[in-house]
Amino acid sequence: MKSTNNLVEKLETILATLPEERRHLILFLHRVQQEIGYVPEEALSRAADYFSVSPAEVYGLVTFYSAFRLKPGCRHQVTVCQGTACHVRGAPELTAEFSRLLGVRPGQDDPERDVALRTVNCLGCCALAPVVVVDGEYQGQVQTDRVPEIVKKLIGNK
C-alpha cells in the first residue's frame, strides 16, 4: 500500500511540472524512467489520463522506443547503438564482445551481477559511431579492444 502511494506521489510530482498537453508525454515518460528506473504500469495509465492520450497509444509508444523499459532494470546498463552508422563501423561485433564478457545476451538482464545489455536503434550521435552508453555516459568510437577495460570498470564499480 505504502509503495503504491509513494509511486503515485512521485508521478504527481513529475506531472506537476508539465502542462497537460500531449507533446509533453515523452518527456514525462523519460523523467519517470530517470526517477524510478523504469516505466511502471501506473505511470502509463496516469499519463494517458493526464495528457488525454489513449492508453493503447501510450503503450504503443513505449513499446516502439527501446529507450523505455517496462520492468525494473539493473543498476548498471550498457547500451550499444545499432544505427546504420554504428552498424557499418562494427556495432554487431561490439555487441557480441560485450555479450561475451558480461555473460548477458543483448536485451537481457543479469540480476546477479546487476548488469543489463541493451541495444537501441539510433542514439542520434552518428558522428561518434560506434557509440556505447555506459551507465548514462556516452562513449564514442569504441573499438572492441576497449571493451574489456569498460567492463572491468563497470564490474569494479559494483
Binding site: L44, S45, E57, G60, T63, F64, Y65
Partner: protein
C-alpha cells in the same frame, strides 16, 4: 471546398478530377483498379501496404496512389511491367508472414468437389473454413496480380489467438498490419482501444498492456470486423458461407435515435448468420454498435421458440391462429365502454406502427391513449422554452455541423446514445474542430475530448457558471444581448474559487476549456436527457443558455430515443398523452376506472386489469400474463419506418429477399386488421405531415426569438453545497448517477439473455473509479448492495477510470418501481455494503 475540375492523364487517358482527391480515388472514380490493401474509403490514408504504387512523370520515385493528391497536368501510369513486378515482390513479402496456402492451392478449381485442403493448412488457413473466404481482399489482389508462387518460406508468427472476448475474435497470425482496424478504432470511432504495439518485425495490433478487449474498455462496436481485409478480425463463431446461399434483409435499428440501417444475413435454413451495417456506402461510413449487431442477434439466437398468438381460457394461454386472436381481441374490446379502455405504447415500436396505434385509439373513442417513457425530455425542453420565451432548434441537420469549430457535450454521451451523431461529429473533429465534455457521470465520448470536465454529480450549473465567468474574464469583448450586466452582477456574487470548490473542477482545466471556447468559435452546445434528469435541471439549462449566448454559440438537445421527435406531433394530432410513471395508470386499474388495457410493446406493469391485450414480438413476462397475446414482427423482419434524431423518416433501403413465409405482419398491419375487425377502417396518415405538426411550428434558423440572458433567479444559491465527506471515510455516502440503459428490445434485456453481452455491459454494475476501490479495499467484480433510503439495489463493482473519483454510476434496466424512481431522480445517494 472543391474548386474547379482539373485535368490529368491516367494510363494516357485524359480524365477530370477535383482538387484534393487522391490519385487512387481519382482512378477508382474512373473505373480503374489499382490493387491496395490498407486503403479504405473514409479512413485517413496510411500508405502501408505499398501495393498501390504508381509512376508519375517527373517524379524520381514511385508514389503510393492512396496518399498522393492529384495535380493539374499530372501524368500517371498505374500499370507497367516494372510496377507489376514491384507489386508482386511486395505481395510476396506480405505473404511471407500470412498463410498463403489458401491463396495458391493447386486444387482450388476442384475445391467444391474435393475439399481436400482443409487438413493441410494452418488454422484457419484451410480456405473452406475461413469465414472471409470469398470476401478476402488478399484473394482479390492475388488474383489480379496473377501470383503463382511465393519465393520466401512462410514464417508463422505463432502468436496466441485472442479468444477470451465475446463477439470478436482476432488471429494476429493472419494480420497484414494494414492498420485499418487501428485507424477505424481511433480516428472514426474515437474508441482508441487498438494501437500498433512494438516495432519492426515485432509489431502487432494490440491493446494497452496487451489486455483483452473486455479489460481495455472496448465498446464492441465491431468496426474492426467490418474493415479487416482478411480474416484477422472476425465475428466469434461465424462460419464460412461459401457454397451456401444467404438471404439478406435490411432494417432500421430501433434501439436508439441514430436509426442505423443494418442488414440481417440469414442462411438457407433460416438461421441468422450475422447482423452487419448495411447502408451500402462502405464499411467505414456505415454505423453499427454492439447493441444492434451483437445484442439483437443474441436476442434472436436465444429466443429460439417462435412466438405464437395466444388467448387465455380458464387462466391458461392456448395457442390460436392470428385471425382468432384478432377476433378475440376485437370481441373483448367491444365489451367495454371507450373510457374504460386504455392503450399504452412502450418500447421501440416502428413509427408507422405508433401512428396506426394512435389512430386506432382515436377511432376507439378513448382518451386514455398513452406513450410510456420514464423521462419526458422533449416535454421539459419545450416547457422551458415556452416559459422563458427563448428558442433553439429541437433537432440537428448534420449538414449544419461543419459550421461549428467547437462541440461541447453536456451530460450527453453521443458515442453510446447517438452513434450516428457521434460519427458525424468525429468527421468534424478530424477537420480540426475541438471537443469539450462536461459530465459528472460516465462518458465514453469524454475519452477523446480535449478537455473533459468531470464535475461533481448535480453540479453542472456551477461548472457552467464558472466557465462563463472564466470566459467573461478572459475576453474583453462585451456582449450586447439584453441582461448581460445583470448576469455579470449575479456572477460577481460568487467568487470563482467557491464555484470551483462546489463543482469540483480544477482551475487549470477550466482555463483550458475557456481558452478553446474563445479561440475556436462558433461552438455548438449539446445536452442530453441526463442533463435534465436532475433536480436542478432548469438551472442547468439557464447556465448553459447564458454561456451559449455569451459565446454566440448554439444550443441543441440530443434525443436518445427513436421516434421521440414524432411524439409531440402525435400528441397534438391524436391526443396522445405522455406517461412518465405507471403509478397513476395502475391506480386507475385498481379502482376499476380502466378495465381493458392494450399494450403495444413492453411495459413494466405490475397491476393486472380485467382484460390485458399485449402486442409484442416476444413472449415476455407481461405477455405471459396477457389474456390475448398478438406477436408482431421483430425489427429484423419489419420494414417499418423510424424517425431518427435529425427528424428524418428512415426506411430500410433495399427490399429484403426473404422467403414469403418468414414474413410476419408488422405492428401497423396488426392494428389495421384489428381496427377492421371492429368495423373501423384506418387510413394511415402521412408520417411527414405528423412530424411537421409539432405545436408552435419549427424555427427557421438556428437562433430565433428573444436573445436575452436569463436570470438565475433567487432560488439559486451556492450555500446548499453539502460538503461531502471525503471518500474513504467509513460512513461516506456515494453519489450515484443513474444513466439510461438502451441495451434492451421489446422487454428483453440483452445482458439477461446473453452471457457475452453481460460481460460487455452489465446493467447490474456499479461503476467506480479504481482509486476509490484502492482506498476502500473494494475489488472489481465484488458483489455489493447499494443501500438508499428508498430501497436497496444488488450490484457488482466495476472499475472505470473514466469516472470521477468519489462518484459512482449505474445504468439499471428499469423493470421495477424502485429503479424507475432512481432513474427519474437522476442522482441518488447511497452507501455501499459488501455482500458476505
Amino acid at each position: 471546398m472543391p474548386g474547379p475540375a482539373i485535368k490529368l492523364t491516367i494510363d494516357r487517358k485524359t480524365v477530370e478530377a477535383r482538387p484534393g482527391m487522391t490519385v487512387l480515388e481519382c482512378a477508382r472514380s474512373h473505373g480503374l483498379f489499382i490493387p491496395s490493401l490498407c486503403d479504405l474509403e473514409g479512413l485517413p490514408a496510411f500508405a502501408g501496404c505499398r501495393l498501390c504504387l504508381v509512376e508519375i512523370a517527373g517524379r524520381p520515385h514511385r508514389s503510393p496512389a492512396c496518399q498522393t493528391l492529384v495535380e493539374d497536368g499530372m501524368e500517371i501510369i498505374t500499370s507497367s511491367p516494372q510496377l507489376e513486378a514491384l507489386r508482386l515482390a511486395i505481395l510476396e513479402l506480405i505473404l511471407s508472414e500470412h498463410p498463403y496456402f489458401c491463396l495458391l492451392c493447386r486444387e482450388k478449381p476442384d475445391c467444391d468437389r474435393l475439399k481436400t485442403t482443409m487438413a493441410k493448412a494452418l488454422e484457419p488457413g484451410g480456405c473452406v473454413f475461413c469465414p472471409k473466404d470469398g470476401a478476402c481482399q488478399l484473394q482479390r489482389v492475388v488474383e489480379y496480380l496473377k501470383l503463382k508462387q511465393v519465393t520466401f518460406d512462410f514464417e508463422d508468427r505463432g502468436r496466441p489467438l485472442w479468444q477470451s472476448d465475446p463477439f470478436i475474435f482476432h488471429n494476429p497470425n493472419l494480420c497484414l498490419l494494414c492498420g485499418r482496424c487501428v485507424r477505424v478504432c481511433s480516428e472514426l470511432r474515437g474508441e482508441n482501444v487498438l494501437s500498433f504495439i512494438g516495432r519492426g518485425p515485432e509489431t502487432a495490433v494490440g491493446t494497452f498492456l496487451n489486455r483483452s478487449l473486455l479489460e481495455s474498455g472496448c465498446s464492441f462496436c465491431g468496426a474492426c470486423l467490418d474493415v479487416c481485409p482478411v480474416a484477422a478480425f472476425n465475428e466469434r463463431g461465424i462460419t464460412a458461407a461459401r457454397g451456401r446461399k444467404t438471404y439478406e434483409s435490411s432494417f432500421i435499428c430501433p434501439l436508439c435515435a441514430s436509426g442505423c440501417e443494418l442488414k440481417a444475413e440469414y442462411l438457407e435454413d433460416g438461421q441468422l448468420r450475422r447482423i452487419i451495417p448495411g447502408n451500402g456506402c462502405g464499411p467505414t461510413l456505415a454505423a453499427a454498435c454492439a447493441r444492434g449487431r451483437f445484442g439483437l442477434k443474441e436476442i434472436v439466437d436465444r429466443t429460439r421458440t417462435e412466438s405464437f398468438p395466444a388467448v387465455k381460457r380458464d387462466s391458461r394461454q392456448l395457442p390460436v391462429t392470428r385471425e382468432e386472436a384478432l377476433a378475440a381481441a376485437a370481441g373483448s374490446l367491444t365489451k367495454y365502454r371507450p373510457e374504460e379502455i386504455a392503450l399504452v405504447s412502450g418500447g421501440p415500436v416502428p413509427a408507422d406502427g405508433l401512428l396506426a396505434f394512435c389512430q386506432f385509439g382515436r377511432r376507439l373513442g378513448t382518451d386514455n391513449l398513452y406513450y410510456f417513457y420514464p423521462e419526458d425530455f422533449q416535454g421539459k425542453v419545450a416547457a422551458f422554452k415556452n416559459q422563458r420565451g427563448i428558442e433553439f432548434p429541437p433537432k440537428i441537420d448534420f449538414k449544419e455541423l461543419s459550421r461549428y469549430r467547437t462541440f461541447f457535450l453536456a451530460d450527453v454521451d453521443l458515442n453510446s446514445e447517438a452513434l450516428a451523431f457521434w460519427l458525424e461529429l468525429r468527421k468534424e473533429l478530424r477537420r480540426g474542430a475541438r471537443l469539450l465534455v462536461l459530465d459528472s457521470g460516465l462518458n465514453r465520448s469524454g475519452q477523446t475530448a480535449e478537455v473533459c470536465l468531470r464535475c461533481l454529480p448535480g453540479r453542472e450549473t456551477e461548472a457552467l457558471l464558472a466557465l462563463l465567468k472564466e470566459v467573461s474574464l478572459r475576453s474583453s469583448r462585451l456582449s450586447f444581448f439584453p441582461g448581460y450586466h445583470r448576469l455579470l452582477d449575479e456572477l460577481n456574487l460568487w467568487p470563482e474559487e467557491k464555484l470551483l470548490a462546489v463543482c469540483g473542477l480544477r482551475a487549470g482545466e477550466l482555463e483550458r476549456a475557456a481558452g478553446i471556447l474563445l479561440s475556436s468559435s462558433p461552438a455548438l452546445f449539446l445536452f442530453g436527457q441526463r442533463f435534465l434528469r436532475q433536480p436542478r435541471w432548469t438551472e442547468n439549462l439557464v447556465a448553459l443558455w447564458n454561456l451559449g449566448l455569451r459565446l454566440e454559440a448554439d444550443l441543441l438537445p440530443v434525443t436518445g430515443r427513436a421516434n421521440e421527435l414524432l411524439v409531440p406531433g402525435l400528441c397534438s394530432r391524436f391526443g396522445l398523452r405522455k406517461l412518465t410513471d405507471l403509478e397513476p395508470l395502475e391506480e386507475e386499474i385498481k379502482v376499476g376506472r380502466i378495465k381493458g388495457l392494450y399494450v403495444l410493446g413492453h411495459l413494466p406493469l405490475i397491476k393486472q386489469p380485467e382484460l390485458l391485450i399485449v402486442q409484442n414480438p416476444f413472449m415476455t413476462g407481461l405477455a405471459e400474463k396477457a389474456d390475448i397475446f398478438i406477436p408482431g414482427a421483430t425489427c429484423l423482419e419489419n420494414d417499418g419506418l423510424l424517425v431518427d434524431l435529425t427528424g428524418r423518416i428512415k426506411k430500410a433501403g433495399r427490399e429484403s429477399n426473404l422467403t414469403g413465409n418468414r414474413k410476419k405482419p408488422t405492428d401497423r398491419e396488426i392494428i389495421s386488421r384489428l381496427a377492421a375487425a371492429l368495423g373501423k377502417n384506418l387510413e394511415i396518415e402521412d408520417l411527414a405531415s405528423v412530424l411537421e405538426s409539432i405545436p408552435g411550428g419549427e424555427p427557421t434558423g438556428n437562433r430565433c426569438g428573444p436573445t436575452d440572458y436569463l436570470p438565475l433567479g433567487p432560488d439559486f444559491s451556492l450555500s446548499d453545497n453539502p460538503l461531502r465527506p471525503a471518500v474513504g471515510s467509513s460512513q461516506g455516502e456515494l453519489e450515484v448517477i443513474v444513466g439510461e440503459n438502451l441495451d434492451q428490445y421489446a422487454g428483453l434485456v440483452m445482458a439477461g439473455l446473453s452471457p457475452g453481452f453481460r460481460a460487455i455491459r452489465n446493467p447490474d454494475w456499479l461503476w467506480l473509479n479504481p482509486r476509490d476501490g484502492i482506498l476502500r479495499g473494494w475489488q472489481d467484480g465484488q458483489k455489493v448492495v447499494l443501500e438508499t433510503p428508498s430501497g436497496n439495489l444488488s450490484l457488482e463493482i466495476k472499475f472505470n477510470s473514466g469516472l470521477r473519483p468519489g462518484s459512482a454510476y449505474i445504468n439499471p434496466v428499469l423493470d421495477d418501481s424502485l429503479k424507475l424512481e432512481f432513474f427519474r431522480r437522476g442522482i441518488i445517494k447511497g452507501k455501499v455494503r459488501i455482500k458476505s
